[in-house]
């Protein structure tokens, strides 16, 4: 049993005309007829002068919601428990959506786990019945264990607002087990302020979290001198090479980054850092 006391929503809008929305994104979680969670997410922010909040076309959002009024049992969730809706008629075309929960600390520190997920979503959401559905289900995904074979990695990252914390430099994620590089991917787009990014990364060789924890590492690096300070980073391992996963294992969860600036300029930060492995 995992008692969830904190809920995050991540989503990516389709990259097509008008796919984004300025409306709030409504998440409900129901267990046996009782709504144990309900929150209206903003997901997308802008700097002053950049327009109103909301997700733009092709933009990702990552947001921590209000705490549940009481912790709820992740094991009690079913495929009918979680729904995502839209609070207005500015239609939204989500491409992927993921609900993340934090389990209350018990014998081990609080850990994050994927609760529900949909990928390659078909259709639009809108309060306008002529434009799409009002709400849609997000099916449960299993919390994979340390021995789950990871065939793909999802990286979610958010950069907050601040001076000189965004970057135009590329970043690089590398996973090593037993001296073998099983994933080595470069992310080449800008990591701007108040922006989240959703990246699926293919693996060179399937691996398990146990492999990484026992004799490996996950390293995040930057490939330039334009220093970057992320605020939040989640790494999940998926059990499928493509499409919707059935099991999702948390590889690393850093809701509040405390690993310092990243830069190849040593006077500004570290060129790479080893990420903590989730338990």
């Amino acid at each position: 049993m995992a008692a969830i006391d904190d809920v995050w929503l991540a989503a990516l809008s389709k990259n097509e005309d008008d796919a984004g929305s300025r409306n709030r994104f409504n998440l409900t979680i129901n267990i046996d007829g009782a709504d144990v969670y309900g929150h209206d997410f903003i997901l997308g922010w802008n700097l002053p002068g950049q327009g109103s909040a909301g997700l733009r076309d092709g933009q990702a959002g990552l947001e921590e919601g209000a705490a549940p009024t009481a912790p709820f049992d992740a094991a009690a969730l079913t495929n009918s428990s979680v729904r995502l809706g839209l609070r207005g008629d500015d239609a939204w075309a989500p491409k992927h959506a993921l609900v993340i929960g934090r389990a209350q600390p018990d014998f081990i520190p609080g850990r994050f786990l994927a609760l529900a997920m949909e990928t390659d979503i078909v259709g639009w959401l809108s309060a306008d019945s002529g434009e799409g559905r009002l709400t849609m289900p997000l099916r449960r995904v299993g919390a994979g264990g340390a021995d789950m074979v990871v065939r793909r990695v999802l990286m979610l990252v958010y950069t907050d607002r601040g001076d000189e914390i965004d970057t135009e430099s590329d970043i690089r994620l590398q996973v090593v087990t037993s001296g073998q590089i099983v994933l080595d991917r470069k992310v080449t787009h800008d990591l701007n302020q108040v922006r989240a990014y959703w990246e699926f990364l293919s693996v060179d060789t399937p691996f398990t979290r146990a492999d990484v924890a026992s004799k490996g590492s996950i390293r995040l690096g930057i490939l330039g001198t334009d220093a970057w300070l992320p605020k939040t980073l989640f790494l999940f391992g998926l059990d499928t090479e493509e499409g919707r996963p059935n099991q999702v294992v948390t590889l690393s969860a850093i809701p509040k980054w405390e690993l310092g600036m990243l830069s190849t300029d040593p006077s500004e930060g570290a060129a790479s850092v080893v990420l903590p492995i989730s338990n």
């Binding site: 009918s80 609070r87 009002l134």
Partner: protein, 275 residues
């Protein structure tokens, strides 16, 4: 369990200022992660008023046995906030439609939320928990009469009172006169939701063996119902756990009701749900 091929939504708005809404109502039914129904209803009824609609064949029939307490949700597609007090979702297979069986699926009563797309006003959707269909031996403590009055070119609504009576043998165990509720009673093209206590609880089996449900009109202002359902509730108050189909008339038929014999029937024995 029933294969639901036809679905109905009934609700009674709270009798409070602005409880009614002209926003479209959205009903979803989810079975194991798949939305087997996502349907809009143009309810648009006022404060304290009732709504009953449905009856058309579903594109995707579903098995009522697959529903859980998390399966059914009702929401609103606009910011004209809506305050339902009671909501019932029921359905039937095509065979049950013909044979007078209605299958209750989900129900809430005594709701307190205001629904709106405006996040400052209330939730976007709320859950409707599963109710059991009961059986012929479920003890009935209360009745729910749902009726929709015909729309027609002549005046199918009535200002006359109607009356529902339940007999076991020769014993009258329930009589309820419906005359002047907080709703617009029995108006043309309108729906009504009437609950009535059963001072002597009974079962459908008893009704089938030696009972009757009689609907009467107490005046000569002729009335033409279009759809009529009677359900038995297993709770004397509040939300029931079991809702028993007693009468299912999704098509009332051609007969009018009136105490004037030249206009229609003064009373009719309603056919009791079989099984």
């Amino acid at each position: 369990m029933s294969n639901i091929e036809i679905l109905w939504l009934a609700h009674l708005n709270r009798n409070a200022d602005d409880a009614g809404s002209d926003s479209t109502i959205n009903l979803t039914v989810n079975v194991d992660g798949e939305d087997v129904l996502d349907k809009n209803f143009g309810s648009n009824v006022g404060d304290g008023e009732a709504y009953l609609n449905g009856g058309s064949q579903l594109d995707t029939p579903f098995d009522a046995a697959g529903l859980t307490n998390s399966s059914v949700r009702v929401g609103v597609r606009g910011h004209d906030a809506w305050a339902p007090g009671d909501v019932l979702v029921f359905g039937h297979s095509l065979a049950e439609f013909q044979s007078g069986v209605a299958v209750p699926l989900a129900m809430e009563s005594g709701l307190t939320a205001w629904l709106s797309t405006d996040y400052t006003e209330g939730p976007l959707t709320i859950p409707l928990r599963r109710v059991g269909p009961g059986d012929s031996n479920t003890l009935i403590q209360r009745l729910l009469l749902l009726v929709h009055t015909q729309w027609s070119t002549s005046d199918s609504g009535t200002d006359s009172a109607i009356q529902l009576e339940v007999f076991l043998g020769e014993n009258l165990i329930l009589r309820e006169e419906i005359a002047d509720s907080s709703q617009s009673d029995l108006e043309k093209a309108s729906s009504n939701w009437y609950e009535m206590d059963a001072p002597i609880p009974f079962t459908r089996a008893e009704l089938q063996a030696r009972g009757r449900i009689v609907l009467s009109i107490l005046g000569d202002d002729a009335w033409k119902p279009m759809v009529l359902f009677v359900f038995g509730l297993d709770a004397a108050s509040g939300r029931p756990n079991e809702v028993v189909s007693l009468v299912s008339r999704p098509v009332w038929g051609p007969r009018w009701m009136s105490s004037d014999a030249s206009e229609g029937d003064a009373s009719v024995d309603l056919p009791i749900t079989p099984g």
